[in-house]
Structures are given as C-alpha cells and as structure tokens.
Amino acid sequence: MRTTLRVFSLLLLVVVTAVAACHGRTGEPDRATVQQKLDEAGLLADNRPNQLRIGVYDWQPLLGFLDGRGNHAGFDVDIAKYVAANLGYEGKIRWVPLVNVADRIVALQQDRVDLVFASLSITDARRNEILLAGPYLVVDQAVMVRSDLAEQIRTVQDLENPRYRMCTSAGTTSERLLEQRGIRFRSEGSDQLCFEKMRNGEYDAISTDRSVLVGLAEEHRTEYTIIDVELQIEGGGTAVERIGVGVQKSNGALRELVDYYLDKSYRADRKGEVTAWDQAYRRYLSGLGPLTQPKPDDPPDLIDSDAKYPTR
C-alpha cells in the first residue's frame, strides 16, 4: 500500500513538473497588455507619422499658453507631455492650437488631433460626441470681476442684478449654472473672447473654471479680482468642473491608455511619490490652493512590464 502511494506520488510529481514547465512557455496573461492596447490604438502602425498630435490652447494663462520663446507651456501641456512620453512620443508631439471651445470637439471629429488637453470638462453631452479620459483636474466654478466692482459684487444675488454684464463660454458648465440661477449673461466662443471684451469694457464679470480665472487674474493682478462666491448646482452642492482628456470617438484603446497612465500617476501620488502631475501643479496652479490628483473615472485593468514591482 505504501509502495503504491509512493509510486503514485512520484508519478504525480512528474506530471506537476511537466505541466508547470510547459505552461510557463505557453501561457498568456489574463488581461490585455499595454503593448496590445498601443497596437489597437494604432500607435505602433508602420505607416503612422512619428508624431502624436495634441490639441491645446495657446492663450490660456497657466494652463496652455506660449512662453517667451514661443514654446507651448502650462499645466495642461505638462500633463499632455507626461501622457505622450508614456505612449512613446517624448519629444515627438505636434502641438495643434485650438481656436475656441467648440474647436476642441471638432478637431477630434475631423481627425486633426489625436488628443485634446484644453480645460475640457467631462459632461454627458460631450461623451456622446467624443471619448473622455480622466479627470486629471477637478476645480470649481468661479467669477472674476473688475477690481473696481469687487466691493459691490459679493454674492450670487448681486450677480443677478441686470446692470452687471456677465460673460461665459458657450456650451460650458458655467453657462448651464448661470441659466439655472437666472443670472443674465452673454455667451462667447471662448474664455479668451470673454476676457478680451471685458478688457474693452463690454463685460463686468466672467464666469468659468477657477483654474482659468486664476491664470487670467495672475496676469492682471490689480485690474481683476476673483470674488468669493459659490455657484451652486440645482439642489445644492458646489459646482465643480472635472477636466479630462478628449479622444476620438473611434479610438477606445487610446482612451484606455490615457486613463491607464493617469491612474498610474494617481496611484503613485497616493503612495507619496513625486509625480509629473505634482510638479506641474506646483509649477502652474499652486494659486488654487492644495489639491491632489483626482482618480480617473474608468481606469482599465491593463498589465505592463512593471507588474512585478513591489506594491508597497
């Protein structure tokens, strides 16, 4: 009996060893790999230009602007560089300037850009037109007024006074909020247009993302002031803008890759590591106060060559 058990054990050992040796050579991961997604996204295609086309603003202070040497700079630009570098396009970015708010969607639909990093807030309406990765920044809505009006406009009720001329960008969350509050306003094609007209005296106030207003106020410190009012959504709660990355509707794999790398940065941030996001935030947006990178909505479960590294 013991001999039979011994022989059985030895035979089973042989089988286990053989199965293990064969499986190690033929197994496939149970998840999609980053390399597979790069392939699906068309980034490894032989006939593809060796550049990643990224749509950015070149007029938005702190977020996407041209620096003194004519190079694209800003928080959005730095996050775009981080994502591009991880996709294999470090130093191979073709920056595509976006004209206005609507151009962000149109540029993707017309295949003029692969990605858009331009204060693009994540909304259900936009999800019908393009794919959105992220968010990589969550900011609230704010109002900036001429400094000489800062003493007069202190509350949302003050803004309801029809003598104050308010501007916002068409199709934005701010527009929706102002409508809900019954505040009179006019819509322009972009925050830039609003600001230019405000400088010309056509408007008294602008409502948009706080990150945009901080940049504009930074350039003209004495002339404009961001007032301390909270634009609330219907039913209460602060209105926040969740800034994401625009991706062409047909390229789900690229959306997953962008989310994967944003999530990777988010997880590194949680572990206390210094990330590209941290550096970009400190460099450009520290005026917003202490903020941490938000978790992307729908990070994919991909596997890459760093999967074996320690998790703690």
């Binding site: 001999t3 011994r6 054990s9 030895l10 286990v16």
Partner: protein, 358 residues
Amino acid sequence: MTPPRRPSSLPAARSRLTRPRPPARRSGPAAPAETPARYGTQSFWSLAVAFPAALSLLRLWIEAGGQFQTTLLLVQNVNPVNLFATTFLVSMRLVTGVLVLAFALGGVLSHAPGFEQRWLARWTSRTPPWLLAAVFGLALATWQILYLPLLIPAFVLVAQATGEWRTARPGNRLVVLGALLAGYAAVIWPTLVDAYTQRVPLVFAMFAVPPLLALGVGGRVPRWFALAVAVAGPVAVVAFSIAAAATSMTMPVLPLTVTTVTGPEGESASIRGYVVASDDELTAILQESGGVRYVRNSAVVNRVLCPASPDVPLYRLRVHDLHVEDSLLEAWGRRVRPAPLVDATCRIRSSPRSTGPL
C-alpha cells in the same frame, strides 16, 4: 646443505600484511571517503564553469545571426570576462534545474535494490552534502517563486541518498520535514487563498501539491518503477540539458538599446539593437532584426536601455509582495530599486531594415 630456516616471525608478518584493512568510514554506499568529495567537486565545477564558457562562445555566433564577419566583430569587442559572467548568471537557473532533476532521479534509484550503481544514483550518493546544499541554495535564489515548491519533494528524494539522512532517526527526519512544511505553510497560506479566490488552478496546484507529495515520495520503489526511472531518467536529464543550453544560447550578450539618430534634414529614426563598439566617429549597432549598422556619433541624439523581452507576468499573485513569477534574487533587486523605468521608446516594433542616409 640445509636450506635456511624460514624465520618464525614471517608468517605472522605476512598475515599482518595480507589481512584486509578495516573498512573506511563512508559518506556514500560504495566509495571511500576522499573520492566522492573530489569527484563531486570536479563534476560541479565542470558544469558550473565549462558549461557557461562553452555556451558563451556559441552565444556569440548565434547573436551574430550566424554571420561569420559579425561574429568576428563581436569576438573583437565583447569582453570575455563580462560575457562569461553574464552566461553564468543567465544559465544558473537552468543549470541548477538540470542538477536538481538529476539528483532527484538519483535519489529515487539509490533506494531501489539493484539500481544503486546506476550513474545517476552513484552521482547523487557521492556528491558531498555541502555541494547538494549549494545547488539547492542556488536553485532557491534563482528559480521563479512559483516553482520553488518543487524543491521540497526534490529535497526529500535527494536527502534519502545521503548517508546523513539514512542514518538519522526516523523521528528526526519527520521533525525536519514537519518543520519545513510548517514554515512553508505559514509563508504561503495567503497566496494559496489568493490563488483560490482568483481561480488560478495551476498556481494553486503548484503551491499546494508538491509539498504534500514530499510526504509520500521518499522510500523504496518497486523494481519496475526503478527500471523505468533508470531508462527514462538519463534521457530526461539530457533532454532538459539540451533545452537549457538552447535557452541559454539565445539569451542576449549585450544590453538592448534604442538609439535615436537624426539625419541632415532633421528627420529622426530609432535603431533598436545592441551597441557593439564605438570610437571617436562611429558607433556600430548590431540591429535586433539583424545586420550591423554604423552611425555617426554626431547623429546620435538619444539612447535608452530597454528590457530584452516583454516581461509581462501571467498572474497577479504574490508571496508577501514578491511576485510569484520572480525569483527571490529578482524580487530582492526590485525592492532595492523599486521604481521601474522602462522608456516608452522601447515599445517600437523594430528599426527599419534598410540602411538609410543616417
């Protein structure tokens, strides 16, 4: 004349001379004390040194794509000490695999009456315990954690061929094996639960089955089984050795890099390959796809180090944060340098085969 009398003491003296010596104390069943150690040591160093050395030369030829001129270029520029060292490193896992297999099979035969003199059995019995321990230690350090449980039944099989294990009291043997299994269970239990939860039967079996088999594999086997092992065992060892050698020979000799070069009109291209040599003007790159390409140093704008192959694991299972597909050495290394930095440039498929203006 009378013949001289034989001294009376002579028979006694002869009898002393012809009396058989008392048997020397044996470490193995069939050899004197000194020989096995020397034999085992020689065998080990033959394998550990000569095997990688021979493979190193063959690796260069294969690395050169079978091209004689390229082989000459590699021989001229590759440091033999570094080459030997890397071959030793990459083949250690495979060499210890072959040795553990041979010793385990020898352990089975050494307990089968009539088969103790088969070479696998003799080899195992004559190898000194410190050398067996060294082989198991190296295997422990270099094998993937996933396969380490196989070392437990292998340990039992090999141990039973040693004099120390045989002469030990059965109770002591049980204590050693029990302590080994208890320690193993304590370490591995969370991983077993994870493997069950994640529905990964192979990993679950790899961690659960071999230690249980360790309780049953030791001892005498029937003659028919020993005969099968005596016939198939050496074939398995040779086949595994050939497979190991083939794997070792296809391992890269030089670090894989992607070199970005620009042309006179600003166009850039990436060359994926191994930097063989560099002088003041030119750098020779052995392309991954084959062929040597010389590029002007002034055209090189960037070079990044890449992993040799996509190191993507199959499972998401860890033993106390050490990935099951890592060896203990690799896992240790990853803890020392915990931030992986693989440049995305490495993801390009391959460099263009034709030589351009760069």
